[in-house]
């Protein structure tokens, strides 16, 4: 299977396609284009694209079909979903169904480049992991999977339900491995409300890229981890325990947990 380009963009708006092509050129990515689901699916079946950026609302189908097709191929392509109809459901659903990132339209150059940067790193890690498995080198660990009782939103954030009914929120190690070392961290305050699929924190990294973190759960923040404020690198060092971010009273955990992936499924 030949690698036609680094990125396949599927969007029915020419102006957006053009803009993405231009932006990708900034970071020296080569881009192929499809203006509808049909051509998109054809191109995916014929060629290999490491990254696919797909709109959710397309004239002849939706982006979730692309997501399904890519999943079936098992070819390590990663998908970034984007849509102008950016509802929380769309965002959370995309991540649940296997998209690696979700960018609501309209986006800025930096937002897209940050996502591409993360996704490329994600890709590299996954390829490396594949290689390691082929070589049967189980001793080398690329990232720490999240503990069994945790649930995660895509590969970005996790939640852990505490016995008291509160929920801990933190970052997955895989996500932290796709970004550079955190320089600056912006957090919400105690008593603020967060909503599943909506930004709840942002990290500015050593390479000046800014990454917006989507909350895995809705609720009210009752505690912010003070340790990570003074020492953001704690998140990188111990993402699942000492490096937690918020303690939250969840608003509707029974409903929202359906869109989270149980980490116990990662062990198989």
């Amino acid at each position: 299977m030949n690698r036609a380009a680094d990125i396949l963009v599927i969007d029915d708006e020419q102006v957006i396609v053009d803009a993405i092509v231009k932006i990708c050129a900034l970071d020296n990515y080569s881009v192929d284009v499809a203006l509808n689901t049909k051509t998109g699916l054809e191109k995916i079946s014929k060629n290999y694209y490491p990254v696919i950026i797909s709109d959710i609302m397309l004239p002849d189908g939706d982006g979730f079909e692309i997501l399904e097709a890519v999943k079936k191929q098992k070819r390590n392509s990663v998908v970034i979903m984007t849509t102008g109809y950016s509802t929380v459901e769309n965002a959370v659903n995309s991540l649940y169904k296997g998209a690696v990132s979700f960018i609501p339209k309209p986006f800025t150059v930096d937002e897209l480049l940050s996502a591409l940067y993360r996704v490329n790193n994600f890709q590299k890690i996954k390829e490396k992991q594949k290689l390691l498995i082929q070589q049967q080198r189980n001793d080398e660990i690329l990232y720490v999977t999240c503990p069994a009782k945790y649930f995660r939103l895509g590969y970005s954030t996790w939640i852990f339900q505490e016995r008291e009914g509160t929920v801990l929120v933190g970052m997955c190690d895989l996500y932290m491995k796709t970004i550079d070392s955190i320089q600056q961290i912006e957090l919400l305050n105690r008593d603020d409300e967060i909503e599943q699929g909506i930004g709840c924190a942002s990290f500015t990294c050593s390479n000046d890229r800014n990454h917006k973190i989507l909350s895995p759960v809705s609720g009210r923040i009752v505690e912010v981890n003070d340790n990570i404020k003074s020492n953001p690198n704690l998140i990188e060092k111990d993402p699942y325990f000492e490096g937690w971010i918020y303690r939250v009273i969840p608003a509707n955990i029974e409903y929202e947990i359906k869109y989270l992936i149980p980490c116990s499924s990662d062990r198989i």
Binding site: E13, V15, I16, A19, I20, K22, I23, L26, M57, T83, G84, Y85, S86, T87, V88, E89, P104, K105, P106, F107, T108, V109, D110, L112, E193, S218, R220, A251, N252, Y255, E256
Partner: protein, 622 residues
Amino acid sequence: MFKKIGFRLIFVVAFTSLVIIGVFAYFNVKSQSSSLISEVERHANQLGETVVSSTRFDMMLNQRDRIQQIINSIGKQPQIRDVRIINKIGEIIYSSDSTNINKMVDKQAESCYACHAEDRPLEQISITERTRIFRLHPDSNRVIGIITPIYNEKSCWQAECHAHPKDQKVLGVLDVSISLAEVDNAILSSEWKIVGFSIIAIISVGLLIAFFIRRWVSRPVNDLLNGTLQVSQGNLNYAIKEMGDDEIGKLGTSFNNMTKKLAEARMQLFQSDKMASLGRLAAGVAHEINNPLTGVLTYSSFLLKRTKDNPEFQEDLKVIVRETIRSREIVKSLLDFSRQSIPKKSLADISEIIDKAISVIENQLSLNKVKIEKRTEANLPNLTVDANQIQQVIINLLVNASDAIGKDGGVITLFTKQISLAPVGIAQIKKATCPKRHSLIDNDFKIDGLPSLKVKVISGDKEGIAHLDPVYGKHRNNFNVGFKIEKDAKFVCPECNNSIVQQDKVCPLCGSPVLAFEISGQGIYEVCSSENSNWEKWEAVDSVGLREYIEIKVTDTGSGISNEDLPKIFDPFFSTKGQKGNGLGLAVIWGIIDNHNGTINVESELGKGTTFIIRLPLLQQR
């Protein structure tokens, strides 16, 4: 005229009193005249006896002149028309009218017929049989005649004149005739009096009844009629004026209540439809705007990146990027508004939510000299709501109230209590299955934002999916399957093709087959399979009867809302605050309450204040 209820009542009452008073008057006149007549009879009889006994002595002595004199002097009395003594063979022997003396009377004539009707003369007869009333000429006064028989006795046949033999029983009769002119006049005048009285009584009863019927029945019924006409013409704001506390008065009050409820329901329905279509519109517009906005934002931020060494461009480009990001936020808020997201509900104490809402803006309100009074019914049960959203609703309403009050200060009162309302038009079907437990809920086809019920229709060789309204009592069913549904069409589960038509049952309104959906834990929901009939039945919900709600009233003493603005206040982008507001506040509130299956209403009077009434169902539908 006879079609008027008042007239009919008056007619019936007048007719009844006419009959009663008429019968009464008739018998009254009759008994009066008969007692008068019998009085005259008695008097005449007495007179007869007197004459007989006063002439007895002279009879014995056979002094005929004296007898004639006595009779003459009696006959001169004004009412006495005639006094005669007639002997056995019918010859008038004495008479007050001397011309009749020695004349024979006809025994067959009325004077004699009481005794001589049969051939043999009677010897003993009663007073009534001896009396007769007659007219000499048809146009003369009535006359009463009484015959007193003069019986034979020992002294008569032993008298010296030997005029009468011993074996004779009756010697003759005394016939006294008395004119009844005076009695008749008295009877006539009393008849006239009674008739006059009766007429006056009937008329006055009629008038009295007419007056009260007009006051208690006709006028209020007319008012009611007028009211229903107004309502049927669409004027749901029409209210009937106070009509007292009788049944019709209560009818009026209940009529007013009904129109008020109707107006509210209509408003809610309008709003519901409007919101649903506006939501779709907003979502569509937002989507459409987001695409060109992406172009602007990506290109401008792209340029910003490429002109890093040109500060002159940088400034201007930064403005473009900043303003585009601002537009993005506006579109996002539009989407937030249009989004029919499921509220994140949990059990919450409404009183606590209100307290929290108040504490958030209390400081701001006290600066404006606005006082908040909270009146909460004790022991309110917990509600399944999205506490954050409800808190947002209360805060928005309090801010609005405070804005309406202005700088002069005022009071905002929050009343919270539990009430009961009927379920039709509110209960929603959220889980429905075929007999084989396949779900019949269609999340892809929504009716007014709610997932519909689906059923496969097979008609001939065509098949399609029909969608039914999930809200019980709203009937917004969609039978548009792209072909005509024939009478023998089959209705089956789209997954297992098992029929979902209720056996042995047809729609009581149109006779079409009845579809049955199993609602887990809530029995069976039945609905007519024809789009022409609105018949549906959900026993489990009907049997629940009234549903419990928590009612929250937010009342302010502010400027109020004018009648023109009142229907528009829940519309998105409608604002009276000018630049201060974006006009989405109340629309968002409406959306939140609607998502909680609740209702929101507003009452307002210019210059006096506004009241928002929120009703949230106590038990959430499953």
